[in-house]
């Protein structure tokens, strides 16, 4: 294992501290627990707070999206492990401005258990919460079981929409509805080319023979729907895009936001090769691209691979995406 780390057990605390030291104008630690980070101006009186969280190892997810117009707080777990309910509760109390708090995070068992317990704990503190789960990975379940899908890179769109709604003063139900509406219209699929190495064990998260790729991979290396020979970029883009267009039932005249996301070890150049094909194919199908994001938005440490997300747009969703936002890893406007 070749990693730039100190004690593997201190890895998470140390990179979180680094983010706080690098971006003091944007984020802060509200108490003593290094696993809770909130936007620097929290709590914002009268506005809905948005708490996200999950395992570490996915930067910029989740810590990178804490700031104005995005999430208000993050509860931070170990690599690929849920944060505790106490950390989620501390984040909740630190950002509650009296208008309630939205829990917005990816659909993974451990996270759901701990966030659900935090719902009960927050209720005892007199804080109303709503929960919306990211579940955009079309490869993880067929469409008839879409509520059981995993959450991956497409949650960015939900952060952006919910954050914009909260920032303009929408109430808790409206902020939750904005997030839910975006998630219902988001689809993501990814491929993996090489595994993640876990810092604590030094072991790869999965085995993949030389020259092969895993199609439909999750952001923890969960197996996908197909393993086969590595293909040219255009063929990969076509496979992913066809699945997404079908899932969202996109038609000529529709408008979308496109996110081409690197998994951690894939160069930007390769992401733009993918974007080129996505752009050509959508243009051929007369589907307009109103917003595009190309880069690393949700990674899996040093996994090589990429995912493509599409959000089907309407006027309301596009307005929320275009609202200003500022966090350590994301700016708009």
């Amino acid at each position: 294992m070749r990693k730039i780390i100190n004690n593997p057990d201190a890895f998470v605390d140390e990179f979180v501290e680094g983010i706080e030291l690098a971006h003091p104008e944007l984020v802060k630690r509200p108490g003593d627990d290094p696993r809770v980070m909130v936007r620097a101006d929290a709590p914002v009186a009268g506005h809905v707070g948005i708490v996200t969280g999950g395992g570490s190892g996915h930067l910029p997810l989740f810590k990178g999206y804490v700031g104005a117009g995005l999430c208000s707080a993050v509860a931070i777990g170990n690599v690929f492990s849920s944060p505790s309910s106490a950390q989620i509760l501390e984040a909740t109390m630190a950002v509650d401005g009296g208008a309630g708090v939205l829990y917005l995070y990816g659909n993974y068992g451990g996270d759901v258990f701990n966030f659900d317990l935090a719902v009960d704990l927050a209720e005892l503190e007199g804080i109303r919460t709503r929960t919306v789960l990211g579940r955009d990975d079309v490869a993880s379940q067929p469409k008839e079981r879409k509520l059981d899908r995993r959450g991956v890179a497409g949650i960015l769109f939900a952060y952006k929409a919910a954050g914009a709604a909260a920032e303009r003063g929408d109430d808790l139900d409206a902020v939750a509805a904005a997030a839910e509406d975006v998630i219902d219209n988001t689809a993501t699929m990814g491929i993996g080319l090489s595994p993640t190495i876990l810092p604590t064990t030094g072991q790869p998260s999965f085995e993949l023979p030389e020259g092969e790729m895993e199609i439909g991979i999750g952001i923890h290396g969960e197996p996908g729907i197909h393993r086969g020979q590595l293909e040219p970029a255009d063929r990969i883009a076509d496979r992913l895009l066809d699945a997404l267009v079908a899932d969202l039932e996109l038609q000529a005249g529709d408008s979308v936001a496109v996110l081409v996301n690197g998994m951690g070890a894939t160069p930007l150049e390769e992401l733009y090769v993918l974007y080129r094909r996505v752009h050509q194919r959508l243009t051929e199908q007369q589907i307009a691209i109103a917003k595009r994001y190309v880069g690393e938005y949700a990674t899996s440490l040093e996994m090589a691979g990429a995912s493509i997300s599409l959000l089907k747009l309407n006027e309301n969703r596009l307005a929320l995406l275009n609202s200003p936002a500022r966090s350590p890893f994301f700016q708009e406007g």
């Binding site: 309910s85 258990f113 659900d116 317990l117 009960d120 704990l121």
Partner: protein, 210 residues
């Protein structure tokens, strides 16, 4: 049982249940990830510490809430989150009561089990802690005498542990073993049985302890 008596009974029971931590760890290593032993031992100690800090004016429902928070935070495992959620659900049933009866204990246990079923998406027969909690709650409701009701609950939970051993695990990590889980004793149901047995041995005189 007033708040003072309840606080003491919980602390004595949890001090006794820690003796089963190694057994629960071993059962969980075979079916899950092996962290149940530490969830129980660290969790029990954290709850005892939290209860020691509360005075006798604390309502029974607030005792249960303190137990839930301490248990959830001690070792934030899935089981800890589920049990803590169950305790919070039970505390809502007790609301503003200043003392609790056997019937209240039955209601608490039933509400706790229902919350665990909801959050854990578990049904009876899925081979989880729910399989011990649900029949024990029914048994507790069968008598006004605390010791008689407790004996019946222990018997019901014991039967559930034995009967579910022959079943396949359908929830959590244990379900990944699929048919290989058949014949292995469920650690969650066993943990609830050991808690009831600890309540008995720690709070009642030896003559009637089976």
């Amino acid at each position: 049982m007033n708040s003072h008596e309840l606080n003491e009974a919980i602390r004595k029971s949890l001090a006794a249940v820690v003796a089963y931590a190694d057994e629960l760890r071993d059962l969980d290593q075979a079916l899950g990830d092996g962290d149940l032993g530490i969830t129980i031992s660290v969790g029990a100690k954290a709850v005892i510490n939290a209860l020691e800090a509360l005075d006798d004016s604390t309502l029974p429902a607030d005792l249960a809430r303190a137990c839930a928070k301490a248990f959830a935070n001690a070792n934030p495992s899935t089981m800890a989150a589920l049990v803590a959620g169950g305790l919070l659900a039970g505390s809502r049933v007790w609301a503003d009561k200043t003392s609790v009866t056997v019937a209240d204990a039955a209601d608490f246990t039933r509400a706790g089990g229902e919350n665990i079923a909801l959050r854990g998406k578990a049904q009876l027969g899925d081979k989880t802690i729910l399989d011990a909690i649900a029949p024990a709650a029914e048994a507790l409701a069968g008598s006004d005498d605390a010791e008689t009701a407790l004996d019946a609950a222990i018997e019901a939970a014991d039967r559930a542990v034995i009967e579910t051993t022959a079943l396949q695990s359908n929830r959590g990590r244990a379900s990944w073993l699929q048919e290989r889980s058949i014949g292995l004793q469920d650690p969650g149901a066993t943990a609830f049985l050991r808690f009831l047995q600890s309540w008995k041995s720690a709070n009642y005189s030896a003559e009637r302890t089976s």
